[in-house]
Point group: C2
Chain length 355, copies 2
Amino acid sequence: MNEHSIPAAAAHRFIRAAFESQGFDTSTADTLAALMVEADLYGSDGHGIIRLPQYIKRIRAGGINKEPHIRVVREHVSTALVDGDNGMGHLVVSFATTLAMRKARQSGMAWVNTRMSNHAGPASLYVRRVVTEGLICLYFAVGNANHLAPWGGTELMLSTNPIAVGLPTRDEPPVILDMATAMAAYGKVKAKAKRGEMMPPGWMIDRQGQPILDPARSAEGLLLPIGGHKGYGLALVVGFLAGTLGGAAMGRQVIDFNADHTSVTNTGQTVAVIDPAAFGDAEEFRKSADTVVRDIRSSERLPGVDRIWLPGEQSFEKHARYAVAGFPLSQGLLDELNALAQEIGIAPLAELAAA
Amino acid sequence: MNEHSIPAAAAHRFIRAAFESQGFDTSTADTLAALMVEADLYGSDGHGIIRLPQYIKRIRAGGINKEPHIRVVREHVSTALVDGDNGMGHLVVSFATTLAMRKARQSGMAWVNTRMSNHAGPASLYVRRVVTEGLICLYFAVGNANHLAPWGGTELMLSTNPIAVGLPTRDEPPVILDMATAMAAYGKVKAKAKRGEMMPPGWMIDRQGQPILDPARSAEGLLLPIGGHKGYGLALVVGFLAGTLGGAAMGRQVIDFNADHTSVTNTGQTVAVIDPAAFGDAEEFRKSADTVVRDIRSSERLPGVDRIWLPGEQSFEKHARYAVAGFPLSQGLLDELNALAQEIGIAPLAELAAA
């Protein structure tokens, strides 16, 4: 299977042009392109440029507000509820993240929920931004399609509601955990499908409980939660926190944005920020974090294991490589993006990449 | 195997007498007994009366401060750091929970960490208290012995660091998730050992990666995290949040309180509380939570599944039964408790139960 290397700048121009072609102003298109490319550069290949065709389809169908009035609709000392006015999720969560950081610096910690938001790419985009400022971040979100059944059930009642946590360090790469509460995020299933690869057993079952290995059959199946009933419990409480608490969709209210491109998704996300300085010397905290990271990395390994990784470390290394050499893109996805380019009248990605 | 039913009042008197025999004042002994019995009544059989012999051993060895000065050592608008002065963890976390609730009502949400605390029983004790007040609770803790290796490792660097989340409802039982980040908490392994039962595959492996099924061999093994690298990541970030952030033990600093009864454990816990009223009408939130609970409970089931449970619902039902009929206790544990009673000069549990 052919794989291309796409330079960040080429992908950025392509994505920006795609949004501009739909009437987004240049500054907004730039913001969206920067975040989507960052996702691919850090190896979040299920949440970067791969999502562009779907975003554009929804925008063309009128399912996204191109000029949203993103605003705080309820606020307390350490909390806020942000209404995204059905704008692109990247813009809404960026707004919420900035607000949460400001409030955390003022009161020690802050918890900001969004409603009327949309798919915002990988959690790590926002968590990384917070961690870069020396703050701790927790992120929860309601996914944009239900792929999980309750434990013992067959009905798709829950999304793979992700949990992300970021911790600043001093000399080590930051610790950034970004995980779906299913064995695999649906984005990873899509990426497997795009690459023509099979899924490992344990990712999905059908409604008779039999394993599904072919990602092309994913629409028939249920994603499996991590740790059985535990992952079901995690997906559920994340849905309550990021969705129900702020009046965003959860459970049966969740729109399947793979199938429905017009209904308002009313997506909810939580960005919670903690200032380590509220608990002691922030520099000491980062040093202690470095010590834990090094202790774990240098601990004894199972036979055949070359290296113990910390959460986020592989993404960090991918970024170092991809920022220089470009990020990998399958032939299938490149073809799809260039078909989209033709449809919306922008230059293909291939040409830009070759430039 | 014989199983006894122990009335709550008998267990309460027994535990209170045990602490009083060690010089705890009656009020403190009462508080500890109430929390430990509540654990058993809700089915947390790995964290209730089963822990009494270990607690008493540590107290007799001088490893616990019987008259701690539990106090706030650092405070911001929505955060606090509580120093437990090496007191019983139940007292320290109760203090932190009260404080977090008060601060959350004042500023919308609050995040309180403990340090110099100790084992506090199941997270659900504190989460339930918060939820009863109509508030949302998140709880994280660093466990008191490392039973997990990093993913790919063999060295016990992490505990089964639990995550608990509680959500208030209106007419339904509250949603209370209380889970270890391992496939099974070590308390469950101990309970299996006490009952003379084997563990299912997937709970533990030895240092060659082979399954361990006999809980008597647990000291040789590693508990497995949920979802492989994901559970490792969760255990790690929980350790940072509940431990490192507040200057409590984490990683190599964690004392194995099963083997070492004198060293200060410097245990850390996090109690975070959110006031739903900061995000909208609190009554509406509870109604929405009820709707989600009912939708999930009534959703389609796999063949052979009688009922879909919400997190905490089985504990809720156990409590209804055990509060009336007593909670189950194995012959082995009863013998152990009565040997302890003889050792410390208090009346045996059997006699009290028969009274």
